[in-house]
Amino acid sequence: MLYSLGISFFEFDRVAGKWNFLGLGNYKEILSDKVFWSSILVTGVMVGVALIVEVVAGVSLAIFFGQKLRGSKFVRAILITPMILNPVVVGLMWRALLNPQWGLFNWFIGLIGIDSPPIWLADPKWSLWTLIFVDIWQWTPFIFVVVFARYQALPTDVFESARVDGASPLKIIRYITLPLVSSAVVFAAIFRGIDSFRTFDLVYGLTFGGPGRSTTTLSFYSFENGFVYYRYGFASALSYIMVIMATIGFSVLLKWIPVRRNH
């Protein structure tokens, strides 16, 4: 950590094999770099949209599977499969599924009457939404697993009392289930939010940041500068800006979302 902080003030000259001191030069360059600002927007949209959908879907699935329906164990096992796949593999797999020539995804939506689907990965209007869709597909199970574990550990007498008192299923969810699982939801959301904020591997496998810069996230931009262009100092400075952004962002979020209720 300290080493990378140190080199964020330098630039590496590959031919001479030496480090040149730049002071705050890398940081100044980043702040005046258009790609940095567009990457913030891409990352922000990705974190915001993916997180909201994943939390809503994950919590809903946890409550649904908490009803102990027949065959739910089998479905649950299938449901968590995407989460255990490597994101680069997920990216490459979806790249094949979304292939405009022979991809299974377009064939499937053709069956429901959409004959001219978009070119998901080559059209800047769709590429980010496709990336978000795949992220949701892969990571909703994570929210589900965490919330489901908490839900299973809740005392059953509270729910039984509510039913005896005549509370409807929706009221039970609203006034009993959600408050009791909220700590798990916040934990899973923050964990997922940080993970989503530093999304790199999925972008690498699926879109490589394109077309244009439409799916270039901050992490991918940092990777590109560090490991494709060998601008180690610039990439380190960018990573430190990300650390600062994440620390501030999630500290504010933790203050804003009450995990424990005092009443």
């Binding site: 590959r14 094999g17 292939n99 020539q101 070119i119 077309p211 494709v228 262009y229």
Partner: protein, 474 residues
Amino acid sequence: MKDKVGAPATDSSDNGVNRRDFLKVGATAAAVAGASSVGMAESASAAAYNPKKFAGTTVKILLVDGERDQEGIKDKISYIQKTHGIKVEVTALALGAQLEKIQSVLRASTSEYDIIDNLGFTVSGVVGGGLFTKLNDYIANKELTAPTYNYPADFPAGQLDYTSRYDVANNKFGGKDVYLIPGIHSGSVIMFYRKDLLSAAGIPVPKSWDDYIDAARKLNTGGVSGTTMIAANDVSLILVDWYARFASMGGKLMSGTPGAKNYKPNLNGSTAVRAVQHMIDCAEVSPKGVGSFGFTESVDAFSRGDVALMLCWSTIAGSAFNPETSKVASKIGAVQIPGDANTTGRPIRGGWGLGIPKNLPKKRKDAAWMVMQYITSASFDKYQMDNFQTDPNRRSTYADAALNKKYPYLKVAGQAMENAKMLDVALIPECFELVGEAAREFNLAIIGSQTAKQACANAQASWEKILKRAGHLA
């Protein structure tokens, strides 16, 4: 056609080699190399060369993964152990990881690897940085080098000036000092076409870029696309498709020199715009979604029989001639890429160079040279090509009659290697960054988000910014 800024660029291989010259050179080289067709080790009796001089040592090789380079060496590990007494260990990493590993290994106090394979586009950064051992003394030493090694005669001259010789003092390609030996594979870009479709439509094989787009439009019927290309946001968009058009149309990518700080790109000239526009026109008669096509998608579409014309690295698309992986293997022809009325096709020069890190003790360097000599020998070059269809490095392999019978594109690939042109910006370490920026802009033009002119103007601005930052342009 010439670009606004002047005459076409030159490099050491600028004098095109015609088919007859190529075969003549290849036949001579083959005769010399033929003496060693069963391997360097068998030449032990000649002169004082002793392949077992460093028996008992271990040589570690770092290669790139995904290009089948490691396969031939792995096959020959026991052979090298038997003939040289040297144990060989091979590590193959994905391109990005390999490039990163090379940077750290070469700057460590002692290198972890004894032989490292370097991508041509990175040579200026690593060899120019003085990080590899000069090989001239090894090549001249009769005790350490077999008399049949035949360096430099058996290698295309342009390839030697790209992935072998380097002028470290002046930081430029070529010169007299040898730091790398071309290998494990080289390669350039050739044009693949469907013989049956062109013949049925009565269209001759395109010789100019105008012919190419005309043919692609006419052939774009009946479920077959006229052409395909690498149009994804990928450096290969520039290296394969755009540069083939640009250089063959007479374009000159750069003017000035980095040292004089006047190294200026010519990306907004008429030739650059015309080359992008040609790709946009081709996209209209390419498979749907070509804007996301990399190598795999393009070669697969061609091998499935969905495409009539394609430009590609022969080392990658050679598999289209293999009936096991191609539905149209028997219907394919291969020729040099098109040119213009006053220019001939000038594909980009690709390939790798094997070198011995400078930060090794002498004994390890010597042992590494023995192994490196074998894996860059004529016999190994033929073995690797025949078994894994990677493009060879030696003229004798390109001209080999038996291999040409088996792989009909090989002769064409050999001619392309003789005529290929090095990417101008390969001589500065920022090469990948520049190519990546241009690829991004041209990809946006191909998918319809901007015009060819806008894409070229944006790429020009990005390149100037990068070159100024790096101190190559005042």
